[in-house]
Subunit: 430 residues, 2 copies
Amino acid sequence: MSEPLKVGIAGLGTVGIGVIKILTQNADIIEQRAGRKIEVVAVSARSKSKDRGIDLGAYDWVDNTADIATHDNVDVVVELIGGSEGTAADLVRSSLDNARHVVTANKALIAHHGFELAQKAENNGVCLMYEAAVAGGIPVIKTIREGLAANKFRAVYGILNGTCNYILSVMRESGRDFYDVLKDAQKFGYAEADPAFDIEGVDAAHKLCILTSIAFGVKPDFDAIKVQGIAQINSTDIAYATEFGYRIKLLGVARKIEDKIMQVVEPCLVPIDSPMGIIEDVYNAVYVEGDFVETPLMTGKGAGERPTASSVVADIIDIARGVSVPTFGVPANSLKDAKWIDIGETNARYYLRLAVIDKPGVVADISAILKDQEISIEGMVQRGHDPGQCVPIVLTLHNARHVNMLRAVSIIKDLDACKEKPCLMRIEEL
Amino acid sequence: MSEPLKVGIAGLGTVGIGVIKILTQNADIIEQRAGRKIEVVAVSARSKSKDRGIDLGAYDWVDNTADIATHDNVDVVVELIGGSEGTAADLVRSSLDNARHVVTANKALIAHHGFELAQKAENNGVCLMYEAAVAGGIPVIKTIREGLAANKFRAVYGILNGTCNYILSVMRESGRDFYDVLKDAQKFGYAEADPAFDIEGVDAAHKLCILTSIAFGVKPDFDAIKVQGIAQINSTDIAYATEFGYRIKLLGVARKIEDKIMQVVEPCLVPIDSPMGIIEDVYNAVYVEGDFVETPLMTGKGAGERPTASSVVADIIDIARGVSVPTFGVPANSLKDAKWIDIGETNARYYLRLAVIDKPGVVADISAILKDQEISIEGMVQRGHDPGQCVPIVLTLHNARHVNMLRAVSIIKDLDACKEKPCLMRIEEL
């Protein structure tokens, strides 16, 4: 049996405490599987006095978090502070520079600085692991980077944010509106006090950015992602989507089209009984299209103390076992600058909901604008007839160029009869 | 860049040819990911002259398959012959003894001889890899053995045989009977000419045996599995199951109950909209219950040349990368002899279909027999009334001890009014 692997944990929020719980409760089986003991030797967090429900007395408390990187006894630095800059980023850089392995759940950090950090890890002969950064307990990083490593990938996509999926599921089941459900989600702990990263799609985009890099061998490039959140979706959209046979899901989609890559996070309509359509509540799902494996799917809880900690500890076990795979599946210097597709040039079917004054000629005006942009109407529904009042009109549109679609929406929006910002969503037949 | 990794392939059926295709078509990306070239240097199969649709001229043809194990140039022996004994078993043993890594898709071999082979691999310092043996292209072995290695598992279960799932799906959609659909499945290549291993549950049991070993750290023990196939299921069962809100699926289930393990492969009723209920056609699904990760699920095509070859090559890439994990996740000598549960002592809800003569008193007799065995009836349906003729009666039964259930069925079967072998299935609320 080899020497124990010694771990320092920076950040003692729910995931950090979860990691300590697993390493303690499952110590016997983990030692057997890892081939050696895994010992927490040092911990660091903002407040030493805070009651975290477990006894931290056995671990060396490090007052200055940065010192974990140079702690004599630490082989692996586990970074669970979060954020793409500041303490977390400094600690990870310094740990790698000091030839310590790093395990992190920090999706923002990897999405923004993954390439630089992968180079550092390689130059120093250590591992940078981040299974917990995407889809919580579901080992999607390992699956794509190792289990499916024989494949060229055509696409990777999924439901990557449990908070949004929970809100959309409850909106559909209850008929309630977005902000109302969001408040509940915050009360039940499914959404942060500041929910912006989740509901604006930024969290999902961080995750997609990482998946894109591994699947296609390109440098993570967060700024290349087109991101749209779910706040503009109302109960009318949910009801009409159901009527048309769809669910609304916040999807992250990366797809290779010839030698370019499309990368987008936005709410989409997907068929009710499709693999994405059936994923409800706080569940995540990740799908890949490989040239040999076809389309495997992984689902599970995408967040939470225990599933996330499970992934962090799996990474630590890999390090203990001596498993070493390049950060993004290929040597850092082989990662390419992707050619990103101009989203305007892509084609899709669309769902468009308008709020217009119910008066003769409005539908004719809308139809003419769409025709001018070479967009064909597949279906149109105007329920209720209330002359002079504002009513919803919902259209589904045949395959159209995105730039034409945006132009049409922008003209329609300026019609006198149009009373609200139109709601436009892609229809994905995934 | 390291030396190329040199591969010898024994067995050139569809999977073997698929492996050569991937290694050729994706050579560039595989070299990048593996950190070195992967070269096929030698091949062997029964017939040298057979046209396999690809040029094998570049590879050293080995007439005597056993010689691959001692081929000067071979680092990794890929065994794709199949079968738990004979040529395949001899080759794998000899390859490990000669310190060659082994990659195989042979579930029967691992299920029957996994413990002995794992010891051989460890004693010789080489890897024995078998991702392709379970669930084709879905990397379930890696996921359980590595991605979820931090967890103690409570259960692992799934739909492990695509042929059976295809037959059951088509029976339901078409209302046709078992043997009729089986014939089609053979015509379309979804079932073998000799379908016994698939339809009798043996193939699924081989796979479950492997999953059980990894999840619970026990020696694979094929003979400890209770196995039942799907041939006794008829269109009446499918129709009633649907009416009650269930699908019939051939499930492999391994579950830890206190310090014992239950291991069973048999057709079960699962709720229509449950994770197992929605898996149709040739798809496979594997579910695990871990103490921290909760319940992640993996689905995908469980067979076929290309998905299976994807898993074989993933194993080869792992070897090229120097990834080395114990065969069943823990050192072979740590694998325990499991304590298996006597299935008779387990409890479950049941579905029971009888074919009885429609005459007064029959239902009273059946009810009395069930009562004597302390089994409560949850529901009973007898559609159609046809005095003196044979009619189906379907019952669902509250939680009952299996041994009592078998006793009741055996007494009912001997009633004069009972005209066919009763069909008994577990109801699993998974």
